[in-house]
Amino acid sequence: MAKREVNRNRIKHSLGDQIFNGVNITLFVLIALIIIFPFFNVFAISLTSNVEYMREPYIIWPKEPTLEAYEYIFSTSLIPRSYLLTIFITVAATTLSTLVTSMLAYGLCRGNLRGQKFFMIYLLITMFFSGGLIPNYMNITKTLGWSNNLLALIVPNSVSVFNFIIVRSFFRQLPASLEESARIDGANEWTILFRIIYPLSIPTLATIAMFVAVGTWNSWFAAMLYMRDEKLYPLQLIVRNFVVHEARPADMQNMEGLRDAAGNRIFLNETGLKMACAVATVLPMVVIYPFIQKYFEKGMTIGAVKG
């Protein structure tokens, strides 16, 4: 990188170059604005009071921002419970998947296991062919009987062949002498994996953990298929039912008791509530995203190169 900067700075800029640079920079500023503005808008609406929302023809940013909508959705039992539930599902699925996938990748990372080729084909086939929606659905609800069971949201995706390939290609780059010397010292494969290999591969493990965590946090379809009880809905499904299907959750029907500090009745508007739910759902993702960005870039690159 550094070398390139030096090189480029040495080059004299012609007028055409400078115009292009200006246009290019402006273009990306515009793109950035187009991406950020919807988030900003949703946030602004969620902070707008009903009075202001009804009075103004349109709102870019509320004159008197208020947190009423947030106070309300967190005072219902639905959203806080679903929040905890979603966090639990995400943590459980991420831990399980990272563990199972990396164990699988380590077991198959050197080509001298009996049946190695069979196991690889066994795994890769699932990338190109699956049972399909209904057979999967019947497998989980009928054969396993996991309707209304959180296991149905945690276990099924715990092996991702894509992640398996990423981790395996990383493990293969590690020098084999590491394992061999440990083996000579009498360590078994479990010990080697947990004491030697894992500490060396934290960035890669973090990468696949992030993939799984984001996927789980954002998933709603599995919950829609397998969960009958609204108490077991993750956040995305609640937001989906509320915003996409326009069905206000049962827990949010009652707004009689809402009073401000002076004891006046507070009215909340539907759109504000929807947007507050959406912000609450997307916030953890947006907050941790800058910290995990580099892991994603890395994971995508490894996945694409070694695919």
């Binding site: 793109i31 988030f39 699956s130 399909g132 092996v159 989906r240 915003v243 994603f296």
Partner: protein
């Protein structure tokens, strides 16, 4: 060098009697395995309850019988490793498996998960060829051959659904595929590294939100009554635009949201490829008088050609149904039976919505086969053209 000699000696010592014992042992193990499998099959059908269990015929309950069958199967495996005749063949296998027992125990959980959640459902595909009755289950419903395929392809919905799927997949690919490439090339021309990093952080962000949230963002801007854009339009005296539920705007909505959400993320792979280009090539080109446009076209673009090919194969392979999540969240009552009806959503509507498991399994199978075929065809085509395929 030691090994072959040893094996030769054992072989000679064994002779004809060894062969006889092998046949004998193999037969015992094989018969036990068949018997165990058969007993197990009967028992499992009993446990699932699809078969009226007749105690007079079998003598014991289904669970007991299942255990017996399992024991028979286990016995046959044990015999394979211990019978004198077959031992010679099975001994190296047993030794290797024992030597690598820890590695097998490491991969076992993963293999089980894949078996349970990827291979067990594959059995359910037979449902596409059966007339599903809830009380008979998958196993004992009647075979109807290609009836469901026939029914689907002859229905008027089929043509439209397949066409929609194909049309959306192809046009979306054509329209959205070049965007990340162009963005990456332009981004590469940004001189300031810190500015480029900031832009990257921002344009990757939408990839991390779900389509549910994506719809919420759209709703806040384009809702016919409460969207900001429509409110602005109306306060300026114009009429509101109905972006979210107008069938004529649906495809535009798909392309637009795809680009907004995924184009930035798509640049990662190309940026990584560009970062790997040898800088001396640019210097040489500069000395030869190439301007930035020429450098971009003749150095950068060829350098990322392999990445482009890879991404193209992947995308073509999933052209028939890569956007289920997107369509599920963006379709509305006005569009879901017409322009937004693709194979995936039809399978969902018929299967989960209307409970026609057999029909929708058949349609799902049809789609899978098409997808697989597309993947192999595109891989083959690219291999022929550029010499570099994906597998």
């Amino acid at each position: 060098m030691q090994k072959p000699v040893n094996m030769d000696q054992t072989h000679q010592a064994g002779g004809d009697r060894g062969l006889l014992r092998l046949l004998y042992g193999g037969m015992i193990a094989g018969i036990l395995m068949l018997a165990g499998g058969g007993v197990w099959y009967i028992a499992i059908t009993g446990i699932i309850g699809r078969k009226n269990w007749d105690f007079n015929t079998y003598g014991v309950g289904p669970r007991t019988l299942a255990i017996c069958g399992g024991l028979l199967l286990a016995a046959s495996i044990v015999l394979y490793f211990t019978l004198p005749g077959v031992k010679r063949w099975s001994r190296p296998v047993a030794r290797d498996i024992w030597k690598d027992r820890y590695r097998y125990s490491l991969i076992l959980p993963g293999l089980i998960v894949v078996f349970v959640f990827s291979y067990m459902p594959m059995y359910g595909i037979v449902l596409g060829f059966k007339d599903y009755k809830i009380k008979s289950g998958i196993m004992f419903s009647e075979w109807v051959g290609a009836y469901h395929f026939d029914r689907f392809f002859k229905s008027p919905v089929a043509g439209q659904t397949i066409w929609n799927t194909f049309f959306i997949g192809v046009t979306q690919l054509i329209i959205t595929f070049p965007v990340p490439i162009i963005l990456a090339l332009l981004m590469n021309e940004l001189r300031s590294t810190s500015y480029r990093r900031t832009i990257q952080t921002i344009i990757y962000l939408p990839h991390f939100i779900s389509w549910v949230i994506m719809y919420s963002l759209l709703f806040s801007l384009f809702s016919i009554t409460s969207g900001l854009v429509n409110k602005l339009l109306m306060s300026l005296g114009n009429s509101a635009i109905n972006l979210l539920s107008d069938p004529n705007k649906f495809y535009g909505l798909l392309y637009g949201t795809s680009i907004w959400k995924e184009a930035g993320w798509g640049t990662i792979i190309y940026m990584a490829a560009i970062a790997g280009v040898d800088q001396e090539m640019y210097e040489a080109a500069y000395l030869d008088g190439a301007n930035r446009w020429q450098q971009c076209i003749h150095i950068t673009l060829p350098s990322i050609a392999f990445s482009i090919t890879t991404m193209l194969i992947l995308n073509v392979g999933s052209v028939m149904g890569a956007n289920f999540d997107q369509i599920m969240n963006l379709r509305t009552a006005a569009t879901q039976t017409t322009v937004a009806q693709v194979i995936d959503t039809y399978v969902y509507d018929m299967g989960v919505g209307k409970g026609q498991y057999d029909l929708s399994t058949a349609i799902g199978l049809f789609q899978q086969v098409v997808n697989c075929a597309l993947l192999f065809v595109s891989n083959y085509a690219v291999k022929r053209m550029s010499g570099e395929g994906f597998f």
